[in-house]
Symmetry: C2
Subunit: 344 residues, 2 copies
DNA sequence: CGGGGCGCAGAGAGCGCTCTCTGGCCCGGC
DNA sequence: GCCGGGCCAGAGAGCGCTCTCTGCGCCCCG
């Protein structure tokens, strides 16, 4: 089929009866080409099935037309699957008509993390998308210092990033807790996420916001987003506050863990204790009872990350370098239904 | 930090007091370098923070050190999230110490599918991994014809692939149905996957195998792996076989849909009808009751795909170009517990 | 002590593209 | 009618690397 080797730009030029420069101009959409020449070149490209060689182009332009999605997965609990898949779809969609390719880099250990830092700063990609970043990771800083545009998924703890996209974790958590308060709950505990991640801090703050606004306080225990830490957290909450009538878990898996403990103890959900989670993962719809949870627009977040990165690569000034997308509560049976006090 | 531009191989050679060729040999691990020269080169590389330019190398070697993972997601129902994430992790792990980068290509429409076919056959990647392939997709054939090594995740329907990795869908389905038979069930229906996908066919065959071995028959309805098709399938099964005492759904979402219908009808699970699914997704653990399901080793499958592809890229002969990995049943409450006939 | 062979190093070419610079052609103005 | 300017095309250089080929020096053997 392909005779020996793929056709080069030179071959196209020969066939079209023009010079290499003209072919290059046509390919790159330069206006300085006469209609006849353009026509001839396009026909030759078509006839030869010419595809430009990226390596050769990258060599001279110093752009690779590739961006990396870097996922640090040293602790797999952080890396919830629905989150991952949703974000990736959004990114892929956002990149689709930009001509940029997506390189997926999953660092599963510290070693790999270091190796990839070198790789990414080494002129191999035009930009980097980072998700599930851990507290104080210097990677985004190093990248920017080396002139590699970087967009973060999720706010980093501490530093103000050059550009990042996040869900409104604080607002979402606040909504969830306000929802519980609105249902008449008064002794509302929370199981937090890791406090070295901004997302954990934000969701705790949202919880605080709602309680404070209602003049309430409640017990706080710390988890790490995992189902198992949800179980431990629930046990601790019950020990500290036997009169608990609701719990807000900062992730769905933790909510699932909490619900398991409640069931084991024979505590009816939501009659005695209402439960709300965060993520609105597919699991939330299938728990017993179905879990009230905060939905975040994963695909939109991914798309927005791609948009920001592309703009930065093109050297455009960003009007809003930090984008926070709305979250909303999806109320289900784990909180709805009658509470003990109001019960029939 | 970086003064102007990154150091080139030439700069390293100058600093080490050797020629470019020697530096190249050191980098590529050629044995034909004296220890002293190698030492000097390595020091210079370290001092300069030299990172080879991939584009320049790719241009001359005609290898890109990049493989693509191509996901055709035109119908999103097929592309279950846990499947995706698990496989990717395996692939990433399998590629980790090969120096190959992973390009993620998600074709969300027919247009993109066609565009990427051109891209992938156009010397941009050294090999391609394909997952969730649809019946009769000519892409793998085209790729191989163009000399691009390809490894499939999941057997294609019809043609015998050059190399592919799959789970033992038939065996898994058979195990699940044997399990139901072993529990005393005799009127076992199935909701199949799409029959234009080999995975759908295999799981139906496994169901057949088990029934035939036990001298039974049962009603078959066709679904498309989606939750909604599981609901429809269950309704149809109940209509066709009111005495049904078990159902094997070829995917977890379909099993979930089926369970919803059973619950709506007030049919106790598993007392009257036992349910088994396929995938052992995280959802399976959280349904009510928890779902018996067939587990497939996703990460191992991904790793195996990577291994096969790397071997093919290196031109090694494959001893077993088609790898089928074992599946096993995870029995949970949706099938365990007492059946009607046996009382409690 | 001389010649042949081997092993390591360096010079040169070239991968396929872009980009700059020069040149040719045509048109308009004086 | 001649010259200047604008516009499009092509030639040339060079991006950073690999690979081949030549050459040099050393060692070993006769």
């Amino acid at each position: 089929m392909t005779s020996g080797r793929r056709p080069t730009l030179e071959a196209v030029a020969a066939r079209a009866g023009v010079g290499r420069g003209t072919v290059s101009r046509v390919i790159n959409g330069s206006p300085k080409v006469s209609p006849e020449a353009r026509e001839a070149v396009l026909r030759a490209i078509d006839e030869l099935g010419y595809v430009p060689n990226r390596a050769a182009r990258a060599l001279v332009t110093r752009r690779t037309d590739t961006v990396a999605l870097f996922v640090s997965e040293s602790e797999e609990r952080v890396f919830g699957e629905p989150y991952f898949a949703g974000i990736i779809r959004g990114i892929s969609a956002g990149l689709a008509d930009t001509g940029l390719q997506l390189l997926l880099v999953i660092a599963q250990s510290e070693d790999e993390h270091a190796r990839f830092e070198r790789y990414l700063t080494g002129q191999h990609v035009d930009g980097v998308l980072l998700i599930s970043l851990h507290g104080g990771d210097p990677l985004p800083l190093h990248l920017e210092e080396n002139g590699v545009p970087t967009v973060l998924g999720g706010k980093p703890v501490g530093v103000v990033p050059v550009s990042c996209v996040d869900a409104d974790n604080r607002g979402g958590a606040r909504q969830a807790v306000e929802h519980l308060i609105g249902l008449g709950r008064r002794r509302i505990g929370t199981i937090t996420g890791p406090q070295d991640m901004q997302v954990g801090v934000d969701r705790l703050n949202g919880y605080h916001d709602a309680l404070t606004a209602a003049g309430l306080t409640g017990p706080i225990v710390h988890g790490d987003f995992s189902e198992e830490s949800g179980e431990r957290g629930m046990l601790e909450l019950l020990a500290r506050e036997p009169e608990l009538d609701a719990v807000f878990a900062a992730s769905d898996p933790m909510a699932v863990g909490a619900m398991r403990v409640l069931k084991d103890r024979g505590i009816p959900i939501p009659r005695q204790v209402a439960v709300a989670g965060f993520d609105d993962s597919s699991t939330a719809r299938h728990t017993d009872p179905p879990l009230t949870s905060v939905h975040q627009p994963l695909e939109a977040m991914g798309r927005e990350m791609a948009r920001l990165l592309v703009a930065r690569i093109r050297g455009e000034e960003l009007e809003r370098p930090v984008v926070i997308l709305d979250t909303h509560l999806v109320a289900r049976e784990s909180s709805l239904g009658s509470a003990r006090s109001g019960g029939r």
